[in-house]
């Protein structure tokens, strides 16, 4: 042990002495040179300067003396044995030196740095963008104070609506549970908002008075609800969101106390909610809050009792805050036992169901949906990950090529005694700097990409908002990705270029270096991988484009020309179903009289309407369902007699509805062929009877079979469908007014809107559109997917072509001599071009081949977005491969042509 220490000591001292000597000698050297300069007639000062300049790169380490800046004297790691520094300080100062040196290297080859940084910025930028979206959607916690103690109450033993509770259940849990300092209820509401005659729909939440208290969100301005404001009959206070307050109320405190008309009745503004909280369930953005009883008053009346009194009506989310020292397990036991008790007390509604608790931070929307969204997010992250891999491969390739160029520099440093580890560290610092600069740019790219993305509000009335700020988490993600990226593309080149065979490299002898061959093989594999990945992206993009084409040419089976639609959700606006029916019929009379309108019709909902689903259970007369068997659920729409004419839907058998099919007349339905074949296979359906109003009827007679049309989505196959006469079934209170027009559709729509406005100034109109606009909405998802995948595919192909170009150009520069010899012994230009092209195209074809196999395996995930296109669509594959090969030829042609212009004589003379 002692001898070991002594040896260490000796080395240390020896190292210091050696260093000192070298410094002395260099100083002497400079002095001598300066003397010569003076002798040649320079003045002493410039003589000294010139001598120092000629001494070159190592100058500061000598000139700055032995004490103060000692550590800066070893920027290149020439003296690995120095022991006069603590390891930590040495790491830190080495790092600083590496960064300075790296910066110099980056500036020295601006072309390389720019291409590398831009590739990385694009690759990382895509990932940052996607992560920001996924993060906002899935991982942004509720902006509550002390979020860890916030829990959400859910139901056990139900398949759907896990997180929805009835109001009476909520009250009972709040009454009996001892584990919480507070339990609060919240429910999404929709209401008309009437500002001086301008009426539109806004989303809000009705909350128990303690809601914001339990969340720990103080009001931005004003106050929150008081308990005595959340009782039946007291409906006159409201809070609004910060955005609503600023955009619509001027954003001043003077707005407090003003009257806001939600759902037709006045509410006094008492407070403003900070924009950090925009609703419990993302990404729906809500604008106002009312106490629960006031919120209930906004809803359509659907029964004899208020929804707040019905134990079977599950519409509230319940959040709670755990008491100090209470664990979630204790609280869960607490609510479970209350659930058991309620099950005994109310077996009809609660018998089959128990309660459970979730940590609020573990939930985004609800367990079932969260489970479905995570894989979707994974697929998206995977796609942008591919682009980053492409960028990595590019930069790794360029680093490898540069590694060969810098081989001599590195060999000299190794010869001078620099440790390999030290050199690898320095090369890695260079790649890290590239990727970190790329990462910084990536955040800039992501910010503008997000702005673009958010500008694409899907054409639906639901306001979507995501907290897509570039948060700390996003910065962290980007930094980690950038570091991993730097490691991914930097490590292998760094290891490889420091393994150079010393003597050969020093002599500048490349030909005998077996590492070169290995290096070119690695670079070729990288290019093959790039081609493979970008082909996968291109195939996905081509499939989406084909799908979009197909979707646009799908015959929806309804009239798309000359028909306009205006929707009014009267059920949300205080109308009873009968009042709504009366309103619609009067409106239709007036619309029919408009110039340019040839026919009017009514439908409860339009085909391909995505926002409202109206399926009903279908029962057959005399049919006994086996225990546990569910009746078929079929889309059911009530329409008036003109509907089939106006929408261009034919009647294949039987008759359409007539004015005689009134409430008092026997009930009738019109169904489609698919349903008929399901219900009565092989029998004539006309005259058969079914019920959409429960197992006990009334049973309606099938009077007609309508021609096929798309019911819910454009991509669906034949789908079962039922129409009932509006005169016999007006329960929903929703409606679309349809008009067949001649001439200017916009003028008709304006006039229709005017008529509704005159009939009820407080009315909000939901949709005002032509039927082709209505259809465009159902194409939105596939359009978006085609655009996104197309962008990814193009960027991927560009990155891959840069990679191919780099590798081939480098190979050509390395083979200049060989090509010169070939041309000297008689090869003509064409055969040189062919040879170089062949080399590059071989890589591309191999990559394309693997890419096709990978695509076949992976594009199946696109299934749901593909309209009438198989995921093995030949045309898409051929198009993608052809596009890639074309880009490949161009990337190859430039170096190939350059090679063909090699002058044999000068090529032989180099080196």
């Amino acid at each position: 042990m002692l001898s070991f220490l002594r040896r260490q000591f000796a080395t240390g001292a020896g190292g210091r002495r050696l260093e000192h000597e070298i410094r002395e000698e260099m100083l002497a050297h400079i002095a001598l040179c300066a003397d010569d300069n003076v002798a040649a007639g320079m003045d002493p000062a410039s003589a000294r300067r010139d001598a120092e300049r000629r001494f070159g790169n190592l100058d500061h380490m000598v000139l700055e003396g032995g004490h103060a800046k000692r550590d800066r004297r070893d920027p290149l790691g020439q003296f690995p044995n120095r022991t006069d520094r603590s390891p930590g300080a040495s790491l830190m100062t080495d790092l600083l030196a590496d960064i300075r040196f790296g910066l110099r290297m980056l500036v020295k080859s601006p072309m390389f740095s720019t291409v590398a940084i831009v590739s990385l910025a694009v690759g990382i930028g895509f990932n940052t963008t996607m992560f920001t979206l996924v993060d906002a959607l899935l991982f942004t916690p509720l902006p509550a104070a002390d979020p860890d103690s916030v829990v959400r109450l859910g139901r056990d033993g139900t398949e759907f609506g896990d997180m929805f509770m009835s109001y009476p259940d909520f009250l009972d849990v709040r009454e009996n549970a001892g584990s919480f300092t507070g339990l609060a209820a919240v429910r999404t509401e929709i209401a008309t908002y009437n500002a001086d005659g301008e009426v539109d729909f806004v989303f809000g939440e009705s909350v128990s008075a303690n809601y914001f208290g339990v969340l720990g969100i103080p009001p931005l301005v004003g106050r929150t609800f008081a308990p005595q404001e959340d009782v039946a009959g007291n409906h006159n206070v409201a809070m609004v969101s910060e955005k609503f307050w600023r955009d619509r109320l001027g954003g001043t405190e003077a707005a407090l106390g003003s009257e806001l008309r939600f759902g037709g009745s006045p509410h006094t503004l008492i407070g403003v909610v900070d924009d950090r909280y925009t609703g419990l369930v993302p990404p729906l953005e809500v604008s106002f809050w009312l106490p629960t009883f006031a919120g209930e008053a906004l809803r359509p009346v659907t029964g004899a009792t208020s929804g707040l009194e019905r134990r079977g009506s599950h519409s509230f989310h319940v959040i709670g805050r755990l008491g100090a020292g209470t664990t979630i397990e204790q609280a869960t036991a607490d609510v479970v036992s209350i659930g058991v008790q309620l099950g005994q007390d109310f077996p009809d509604t609660n018998g089959e169901m128990g309660f459970t608790l979730f940590q609020a931070s573990d939930l985004r929307i609800e367990p079932g949906i969260d489970k479905a969204m995570l894989p979707a997010a994974g697929v998206l992250m995977g796609l942008v990950g591919l682009v980053l891999l492409l960028a990595c491969a590019n930069v790794a390739n360029m680093m490898l090529a540069r590694g060969s160029v810098r081989r001599q520099e590195i060999a000299i440093r190794l010869a001078l005694g620099a440790g390999r580890g030290r050199l690898v560290r320095q090369l890695l610092t260079e790649s890290m700097m590239l990727s970190l600069i790329g990462g910084l740019l990536a955040v800039v790219i992501a910010k503008s990409a997000l702005q673009l993305l958010l500008a694409i509000q899907p054409p639906i009335m639901v306001p979507i908002s995501l907290a897509v700020d570039v948060s700390g988490r996003v910065w962290l993600f980007t930094a980690v990705v950038a570091m991993l990226t730097g490691l991914a593309f930097g490590l292998v080149p760094a290891l490889r270029s420091t393994r150079a065979d010393l003597s050969q490299s020093l002599r500048g002898d490349e030909a005998g270096d077996s590492g070169r061959l290995r290096g070119s093989r690695l670079r070729s594999s990288l290019v093959v991988a790039q081609v493979t990945l970008s082909l996968v992206l291109l195939v996905a993009a081509a499939l989406m484009v084909r799908s979009l084409q197909n979707a646009q040419s799908i015959d929806p089976g309804i009239a798309t020309e000359s028909v306009v639609n205006m929707g009014a959700a009267l059920a949300f606006q205080g109308y009873s179903p009968d009042e709504a029916q009366d309103f619609y019929l009067r409106a239709m009379d007036r619309i029919a009289a408009l110039p340019g309108v040839t026919q009017v019709a009514f439908a409860e909902r339009l085909p391909l309407e995505s926002t409202m689903v109206t399926s009903r259970d279908v029962y057959l007369e005399g049919q006994q369902l086996a225990p546990g068997e569910d009746p078929p659920s079929v889309m059911t729409t009530s329409v008036d007699p003109n509907y089939f004419d106006v929408m261009g839907i034919g009647i294949d058998q039987g008759r359409r509805f007539t004015a005689a099919d009134v409430k008092e007349a026997p009930p009738v339905v019109i169904i489609n062929e698919v349903l008929a074949a399901d219900l009565w296979p092989g029998q004539a359906p006309i005259g058969k009877r079914l019920s959409v109003s429960g197992a006990d009827g009334p049973f309606a007679e099938v009077v007609g079979i309508h021609s096929e049309h798309k019911v819910s989505t454009l991509g669906e196959g034949p789908t079962r469908n039922i129409y009932v006469p509006y005169a016999q079934d007006n329960a929903s209170g929703f409606g679309s007014l349809l008009a067949r027009t001649q001439g200017d559709q916009a003028a008709v729509l304006t006039a229709m809107r005017q008529i509704l406005r005159e009939m009820d100034p407080g009315l909000a109109v939901m949709e005002v559109e032509t039927i082709s606009e209505h259809l465009a909405l159902s194409l939105f998802p596939v359009r978006l997917a085609a655009a996104a995948l197309g962008l990814l595919g193009v960027i991927g192909a560009l990155l891959a072509s840069v990679g191919v170009y780099g590798v081939i150009a480098f190979a050509v520069s390395q083979r200049t001599r060989e090509i010169g010899i070939r041309m000297a012994i008689g090869a003509d230009r064409r055969s040189v071009v062919r040879m170089v092209l062949g080399q590059g195209m071989r890589l591309i074809l191999i990559g394309a081949g693997i890419g096709i196999v990978l695509s076949l395996a992976s594009t199946r995930m696109l299934g749901a977005l593909l309209y009438g296109v198989s995921s093995v669509d030949v045309l898409a594959y051929v198009a993608a491969a052809a596009a890639l090969c074309m880009v490949g030829v161009i990337a190859n042609l430039v170096p190939a042509l350059r090679a063909s212009h090699v002058e044999p004589s000068s090529a032989l003379r180099t080196r």
Partner: protein
């Protein structure tokens, strides 16, 4: 003209055969002997000298120059002389081989 890296040792050893010299002097001598074609960058001379000293081809001692500067003077060792002979003959072989290729057309 840039100096081929591997030949620096050879040139230094050859210069020292004429007698001891300091690093700067060696560089100047090479510059002059090649009709100012080869210019040894001063910064690479000292590491090269250090390396050759460590291999035992040359030895060094501090002395004083004509201009009364303190400088380190280098001298060829017997090992250095052997090395010089070996490198000289392999260089001649190499350069005549290159010459043959160049003249063959």
């Amino acid at each position: 003209m840039d100096l081929l890296r591997g030949t620096l040792d050879l040139l230094v050893l050859r210069t020292l055969r004429g007698g001891p010299a300091h690093g700067y002097g060696i560089a100047k001598a090479i510059h002059a002997a090649t009709d100012e074609v080869l210019d040894v960058e001063e910064g690479s001379m000292d590491p090269a000298l250090y390396r050759m000293e460590k291999r035992g081809w040359i030895v060094a001692d501090w002395g004083v120059t004509d201009t009364k500067r303190r400088a380190k003077f280098y001298e060829l060792t017997p090992e250095g002389r052997t090395q010089l002979d070996a490198e000289s003959s392999s260089w001649s072989e190499f350069s005549s081989a290159v010459g043959k290729v160049l003249e063959s057309n």
